[in-house]
């Protein structure tokens, strides 16, 4: 298989392992970008989701935002952001466009899962807690967050995986990351290079998915039913009953 031998050739070439265009740099770029975008989205979406879930107000707004967010084509968002960064942030076109697009993409899954997770906390436990004399801070910390945590982590997991995948497209807007190997490879018809890039980014996405999946299981409070683990979008963002 020609592609395979080309790929091996690409990997054996030491110049592909060093310098600002080498494999390690690209991997690190990709990881960093994904991390920052997801973390920033979490910073914004978590508090909003907690408030909405706890107070049960603003749900319609959040679920609409979530629905729309889920429907957004990631390449479309990139295409939308790019012209603006091109005009207003010419210094770092690719980087800014990619970061902003990824940030926007990561918010809906985190937001939805957070507020659904908090809302799903057993109403009886909440009533007993309130009747016992817990204030809203205590209810949040003792009851709502721990019980909502698995769903919240699942939301972050969805977001992170989507971000890692879409960051690949950053290469199209002149950013770096692992997509660079795919795009450049297409351009010069070096499918070995393409394969290397594809395998690396697929591996990264899968690692993110499984890694955070393990975290999610670890953080499921003992005494709760363990959820069957399936890679891919976790329950609420796909479950139609929860999306109106």
């Amino acid at each position: 298989m020609e592609v395979l031998s080309d790929a091996i050739a690409f990997l054996s070439d030491p110049s592909n392992w060093s310098g600002s265009r080498g494999i390690p740099v690209r991997v690190w770029e990709h990881v960093q970008m994904s991390f920052y975008a997801t973390a920033a989205a979490a910073l914004v979406a978590l508090p909003i989701g907690l408030v909405i879930g706890h107070s049960r107000k603003g749900e319609f707004l959040a679920s609409s935002a979530g629905n729309i967010g889920r429907a957004l084509p990631s390449f479309g968002v990139l295409g939308l952001v790019f012209p603006f960064t091109l005009r207003y942030l010419p210094g770092s076109i690719g980087f800014a466009a990619t970061l902003i697009a990824l940030f926007l993409l990561a918010i809906p899954p985190i937001l939805i899962n957070t507020y659904v997770g908090v809302q799903n906390v057993d109403a009886d436990s909440l009533e007993a807690a309130r009747g016992m004399g817990m204030d809203w801070r205590q209810m949040l910390v003792i009851l709502e967050i721990p019980l909502a945590l698995p769903l919240i982590i699942a939301g972050i997991r969805n977001a992170a995986v989507a971000v890692v995948a879409t960051a690949t497209l950053g290469a199209v807007v002149a950013w770096g990351g692992l997509g660079r190997f795919i795009i450049d490879g297409f351009a010069v018809r070096n499918f070995g290079q393409v394969l290397v890039g594809a395998v690396l980014v697929a591996g990264l996405a899968l690692a993110t998915e499984f890694g955070l999946g393990v975290l999610e299981r670890m953080l499921t409070p003992k005494g709760m039913r363990p959820r069957a683990y399936i890679p891919g979008e976790a329950q609420p963002t796909v479950d139609p009953g929860l999306v109106t």
Partner: protein
């Protein structure tokens, strides 16, 4: 730069292309979802009947779903080239997890007592499946189709990178040429298409299942 941000004249001049690409976009989407359903229905039914097969089926489709779209296209290109086939294989792969998950979930959601009543009335398990369980699972399955369709609309744009793309063609054009107009055109249209189709299918989903509109009244002890 004193150029206007959006060159409407360009859009006007290229209207016929916009139409073509829109049609291409819709075609790619419809083929993908239909094929996806054709594959997912039997797989979903098997996973539902033989519960042990669910984990491997979900596992494989889950892995396919997690692989970034550009990477999946890249894996396929050496074999099927820069063609519609490549695009469709990738697009169909992404629908599988969602559709299968929802088919199984929908069937799981059919209440036990309904199934028992059917059995008691003398329905064979095949009749029960087709006349009772699948219709009752329809809301969840419909939602899965909706999500799969909307996701596919988004992914079609990425196929621009292998020469297809539907409305994504304009996005790529705009990015490569550092020319905002087509990039904005392509992205706004693809986003609008996704949102519109989502709303329409949601409406359709609610029409098909009037009983899900009723919310339980809170009781006062």
């Amino acid at each position: 730069m004193n150029e206007p941000f959006v060159r409407w004249d360009w859009i006007w001049d290229h209207m016929d292309q916009v139409g073509e690409r829109l049609i291409e976009h819709v075609q790619l989407t419809v083929i993908a979802v239909v094929l996806g359903l054709l594959i997912s229905l039997p797989l979903g039914l098997i996973a539902y009947r033989y519960r042990k097969s669910y984990a491997p089926i979900a596992g494989v489709t889950g892995i396919l779903y997690t692989i970034p779209s550009l990477a999946l296209l890249a894996f396929l290109v050496p074999f099927t080239g820069f063609s519609t086939t490549t695009a469709e294989v990738a697009l169909v792969s992404y629908t599988l997890l969602i559709l299968i998950r929802n088919i199984v979930s929908g069937l799981d959601g059919v209440p036990e007592d309904v199934k028992e009543a059917a059995k008691g009335m003398g329905y064979s398990s095949r009749q029960s499946l087709w006349r009772i369980e699948i219709p009752l699972a329809l809301p969840v399955i419909a939602a899965g189709i909706r999500v799969a369709t909307v996701t596919t609309i988004g992914l079609v744009t990425v196929t621009a990178l292998i020469g297809k793309g539907g409305l994504g063609y304009f996005i790529l054009l705009g990015i490569r040429g550092l020319f905002p107009t087509p990039a904005l055109l392509g992205s706004v249209l693809s986003v609008a298409l996704a949102i519109a189709v989502d709303a329409v299918l949601l409406g359709g989903q609610k029409l098909v299942t009037p009983w899900t509109r009723v919310t339980a009244a809170r009781s006062e002890a």
